[in-house]
Symmetry: C2
Subunit: 213 residues, 2 copies
């Protein structure tokens, strides 16, 4: 009755927020202190009203005639996305994609800190990749539980993805970032993002086919 429900932000809005964030960071590094939606919209090729609505979900208020203060706006987005504090994560699959993900320093900026890798291949276990240890997969549930890990990254081949997901669920992991090209069968309350390269490539191919038609 009295609790105002947090308005659920539309997914397209959430997907655009990082773009605003990077843009604003750049503005900030240029010494810019204030910026208007009109300006952002022009530079990012979006509708000004959309920009206003998108930014509004983070709770920020602009000043009519002036615009938005850059620094508080950045903080508002960081806070909304949870990018102001690091969340530890486990990665399963220390192959070439896994290695690339382990080496990507940029995730820290997005609040994600991959602390360890897991693999079932004995030849990989014990090695260090980009400073992170590769552990046997069956150690994951125990460690995840003890370390209160909430996020798991899957970078194994399609065939092994479901097994990797099952182990994560067993360890109490709540959100999975899945780079394997399969849809996972998971409990209702699990959060999943499929990084579907096949889908992106499908869209690219079709658009190219139409463009050169």
């Amino acid at each position: 009755m009295s609790v105002v429900p947090i308005k659920k932000a539309p997914e397209p809005t959430i997907r655009r927020l990082p773009d605003y964030y990077h843009y604003l960071k750049w503005m900030q590094s240029n010494g810019r202190e204030v910026v208007s939606c009109t300006h952002i919209a022009r530079d990012l090729d979006l509708d000004p009203t959309q920009v206003r609505k998108d930014l509004a979900v983070t709770g920020i208020r602009g000043k009519p005639k002036v615009g938005y203060l850059v620094t508080p706006l950045i903080e508002s987005i960081e806070n909304f996305l949870g990018w102001n504090n690091l969340t530890d994560a486990f990665l399963v699959g220390a192959g070439s994609l896994g290695t690339a993900l382990l080496g990507y320093q940029g995730f820290k900026q997005y609040g994600l800190n991959i602390v360890a890798a897991f693999d079932k291949d004995k030849r990989k276990i014990g090695k260090k990749i980009h400073g992170k240890e590769v552990l046997p997969l069956d150690k994951l549930p125990g460690l995840a539980e003890r370390m209160h890990i909430l996020i798991g990254v899957i970078s194994v081949p399609a065939e092994s993805a479901q097994a990797a997901a099952d182990v994560m669920v067993e360890g109490g992991i709540r959100a999975i970032w899945n780079f394997a090209p399969v849809s996972l069968d998971l409990p209702e309350d699990m959060v999943v993002q499929n990084e579907n390269l096949a889908s992106s490539l499908a869209v690219l191919s079709r658009q190219l086919a139409e463009a050169v038609k």
Copy 2:
């Protein structure tokens, strides 16, 4: 007047087609010859009407009471997505992500064949990564033109992405698959797919925040 325009398929539909494709391939390998939308919808957790509409864009017709013939349906999707013949592509940025992409055998299945990598780092030039040569970036325009390369993959850091894109445009490349976390400034007629890891991570963080709330 007389030419029936090709109905432009909705992007969400195109993004789902690879999922149907993988599912059908699996059905096929299980010896299944016929499958109904109802069945597909249940397994893939979609609406049956949506499945029918999605499949219809590829031009296939089902048989009332029976369903769809698996093999022709697979071919129809392959054909629609252009996955039945390989398109050669160039990759710029032979860092860890680039290396992972060069090593991923799955792209061939999706009609993409990365034939060479380019980098501006002299220490990488001349090496072979997963059997593909790393060439100096300034050779790209000439080679792209001569080899009629239409697709470019960008896996460089954010700062270098625009420069990589410019070189691709110069070489007559028409479609860019961009893994750098920046939006590129490109001519109108260029096709772009941004593989935006920051966006996916933003959605994951928010959903997790709501789930554990």
